[in-house]
Symmetry: C2
Subunit: 202 residues, 2 copies
Amino acid sequence: MPDEPAPTPRGSYAKGVARRQEILDRAIEVFARRGSDRTSLRAIAEEVGVTHAALRHYFGSLEELLVAVYRESETRGGADDHDDPEATPVELMRDWTESNREVQGLVQLYSTLVATALEEGHPAAREFATERFARTRADLAERVRRNQRAGRIRPDVDPLAVAALVIAASDGLQTQWLLDPDAPQDAALALLEVLLSAPGDA
Amino acid sequence: MPDEPAPTPRGSYAKGVARRQEILDRAIEVFARRGSDRTSLRAIAEEVGVTHAALRHYFGSLEELLVAVYRESETRGGADDHDDPEATPVELMRDWTESNREVQGLVQLYSTLVATALEEGHPAAREFATERFARTRADLAERVRRNQRAGRIRPDVDPLAVAALVIAASDGLQTQWLLDPDAPQDAALALLEVLLSAPGDA
């Protein structure tokens, strides 16, 4: 029956995609405003304005919704495509930190996702966090190599160790700062930048 | 009625303290074995072998039980009283990391507590994490000053910024390592130690 159009399945699929996107958009607004407090999916569904059944249908679990919200927010924020390929890893993290200060809900969401990933029984969060750390380490290590060739970062440091260290410092300092605005987040990142800089470039 | 003994209230108070301790001991065993998956207090109560009502009576909330378990474990582990006052902050963190590898449940508990502290509406976790970070920063900054006087750490770095950086690096690297044993945790901590060392001491 090649001539028979199939409007219902196709239309219903397209409608499903649109509906999923609509829920995701509203969930992002909710999380950006109030952060994720890991209350029940039901409470989030209520605030997003959909039924619990619909949320479960489109996302499966709270964990999968959290991952979808974070991925979508990150894509929109353009966190992955920093303009200047010559920027150091620490400069990149400082930009990221700056933009994060505007959306504390998403920072909370990030820390919630990472903590969830460390617990047993949360494969979606674990896959998200593990993959994200591995990819960010590889990207930053490549950036370190570029910076080493350009004479901006010490030539005697291992690029992958630097990448892991910068990510860890950035994540950890952000946590300390969120809990206590007097924590020396900027000073500590600036210190790391100086420590890593090639002699004569600091 | 000064002559009248009051055995019931005193006895019942002492019994209450003992009972609380007994629950705490069992909760520590449970958390050390399986970590905190932030399931309900009810599930934890079941595994600890007390009623939900008793847990709530002695600890108030899941969050307060988590804090009590972590504090007690830390006291037992002696994390705060490192023998060598001349050890560098990074050496201290490496010891801590080593001992943490034996008790992954407590590491999970730590990350859960910190993530909980960042969310709204969890005053006990927030107070615990904020106070712990501030105290650890102050202790490590003092250690940095001692190391600077002894010529082991560069004299030109701000002790408090170093302290915040070392804590952040330690926490963040531990997270990356828990998710992926190939993450260069040891290499990155060793790198930080070298970067911070005074010229000639590395």
